[in-house]
Amino acid sequence: MGTGSIRFVLTRTAALCMCIACFLSVAGVTHAAVTLAVLNPQGEIAPPPVFVPTARVASLDGKKIGIYWNGKQGGENFWDVVEEQLKTRYPSAEVIRYKGPFDLGQAMAEKIAKECDVFMYGVGD
């Protein structure tokens, strides 16, 4: 295709695009994109510290097992069965039952931590 022919095609193509754009504009069809920039509604949180759980025990034989429960109804039935099972499987273990609020608090935690080797902790919901 010669230079003159290319120029003819380009000129006619440009004219066609302008006609289409004009038509679309008259018809009310435009393609201007809308960008909404909005602020984040979430509260900033300080990164929580990260702690690692304590090493596990090799076995519950001879251990004092604390069971902590917040006293929600029906929990006693569940833990009675668990306690029975533990005593059957580990006759040398001792099970101590505790009750208190959802978070037992530091004072109670320090007290019962001295009395047991391991804990099962549940709060009823």
Binding site: A32, G43, P53, N77, P101
Partner: protein
């Protein structure tokens, strides 16, 4: 979760057990409390909640749980458990949404925010910097001022963050000082925000505005007071819902564990006192604020047995009523609080045994009749407090023991805070716990909040909850109203 982590930090291996419907909640809680890899095991909730009623029924569930409980304490920690990933908390300040036109962009914005758990389910207004600046024109307080810390994830509630959520809710700048005051109430030290936001019961807040600002911003205190149709009432409530949700990082089923949802969950019960029709001073004045000041009371209401959040005592246009019939109904309702004697067991979490507070919203015509009979707000509180007290001789031995146990536990402060009696009330109980005494079921007269609101006619209704979690805060920093400056 925090209790279990205390024991772990003291060097004791713990295994934490939940019902499986709370597993994700427990995961988030472990993360929030700093021990994301705390050992957790789950029992099937569908089985546990139904079968816990007896040992025989719960046996299969408990027997299945025993092995995983044992393994939780004995199986060595894995590499992943010993190397938990730190939680990412950095956030983008600005989010951009692009679409072919404004309508499509609005739809995309709403879809994105709801997918991110940043919305309430209702349509939101985009919080563009320009709209937020507009909202902030309603207060003279600095946008960076920290109003409080919002549970459950302890997000910082700055004035700007509250304004962003107020824009989303469709509020106007003149409402912002009221919204900020309510957030001060929610984040106050003694307000148990965690419970109202995350409990499995249907607790929710009531938000009551007192003083001249209520009328200035167009709040409804007449017919339809807890309903729709008033931009101030509805968008103030919605702004608070969004603020608590977003700033506290709260979401249904994840850490908001209301099993059947919360009443009026989008807008709460948000209304104003009807000072024009009331024969008495506004509530905030009765507790020490000045008459030309404005204030907001936030209070948790609702629960397990009053899930609708209210008890109607009478009045209105249908059944006949008298001031005496309504008073009798209030007394009968408050008298049920005797359960705090019969059900209380020291050291156990028994919700029905926690002492209650009562918010009474008196219909104006009822309040006016009481006023004609010589009642003031204070004398009405005293009347209800005394009328519902039980003569010592009528208490059972178990009830007397329960009151004594509560007194002892309150002195030792070794009980759940819901059960603790304030120190100034202990002598009052010790004084009456003997022959000739009358033992109150309401811990203090101040635990009966008396408001006047509604049109004429209206119903007189009550809202109740554990006696903690009610705060009244001054509205200040307003720039667009005469009151609240």
């Amino acid at each position: 979760m925090s209790g279990a982590i205390r024991l772990e930090k003291l060097g004791k291996p713990v295994v934490y057990i939940v019902a499986d419907n709370f597993s994700h909640d427990a995961e988030l809680s472990a993360e929030d409390n700093g021990m994301p890899t705390l050992r957790r095991v789950a029992v099937p909730g569908e089985e546990f909640f139904q079968r816990r009623i007896s040992r025989d029924q719960i046996k299969p569930v408990a027997n299945s749980a025993v092995q995983v409980l044992i393994a939780g304490l004995t199986r060595p920690l894995t590499r992943e458990e010993l190397n938990p990933k730190p939680k990412k908390t950095a956030m983008d300040r600005i989010i951009k949404i692009t679409a072919e036109n404004y309508g499509a962009a609005l739809e995309k914005f709403n879809a994105l925010f709801l997918a991110n758990h940043w919305g309430s389910g209702l349509p939101l207004i985009p919080p563009t910097p320009e709209r937020v600046k507009w909202m902030l024109s309603g207060t003279s307080r600095s946008k960076d001022e920290v109003v409080g810390i919002v549970a459950p994830k302890n997000g910082k509630a700055t004035v700007e963050k509250i304004a962003i959520n107020a824009v989303m809710a469709g509020a106007k700048p003149e409402y912002l000082p009221v919204i900020i005051a309510a957030m001060e109430g929610f984040t106050a030290k003694d307000y148990d925000l965690v419970h109202v936001l995350t409990s499995s019961g249907s607790f929710f807040p009531a938000v009551i505005v007192h003083g001249p600002i209520a009328k200035e911003i167009g709040m409804n205190s007449g017919t339809g007071l807890i309903g729709h149709g008033f931009r101030a009432n509805n968008t103030i409530g919605h702004a608070l819902r969004l603020s608590l949700l977003n700033i506290g990082h709260l979401w249904p089923g994840e850490n908001d564990m209301a099993l059947i949802g919360r009443v009026s969950s989008h807008t709460f019960f948000t209304f104003a006192e009807n000072e024009q029709f009331s024969p008495w001073e506004p509530y905030h004045v009765s507790i020490g604020f000045k008459k030309d000041e404005s204030a907001v009371t936030v209070s948790t209401v609702g629960g397990y047995t009053a899930t609708t959040g209210m008890t109607v005592y009478g009045g209105g246009a249908v059944a006949v009523w008298s001031a005496d019939s309504i008073l009798d109904a209030i007394v009968a309702d408050i008298s049920h609080d005797r359960r705090i004697f019969t059900l209380f067991k020291r050291g156990q979490a028994i919700p029905s045994a926690h002492p209650s507070k009562h918010i009474l919203v008196l219909a104006p015509e009822f309040a006016r009749e009481l006023n004609r009979r010589g009642y003031t707000r204070a004398s009405l509180q005293k009347y209800l407090y005394e009328k519902t007290s039980i003569p010592f001789e009528e208490l059972t031995a178990q009830e007397v023991k329960a009151v004594r146990d509560r007194i002892e536990g309150s002195k030792a402060r070794d009980m759940l805070h819901y059960d603790i009696m304030p120190t100034d009330r202990i002598p009052a109980y010790e004084e009456v716990l003997k022959p000739g005494g009358k033992v109150p079921v309401v811990i203090a007269p101040r635990d009966i909040t008396i408001l006047v609101s509604g049109g004429i006619p209206a119903y007189t209704f009550g809202m109740s909850y554990f006696r903690v979690s009610q705060e009244t805060k001054l509205v200040h920093g307003a720039t667009l109203t005469k009151s609240g400056r």
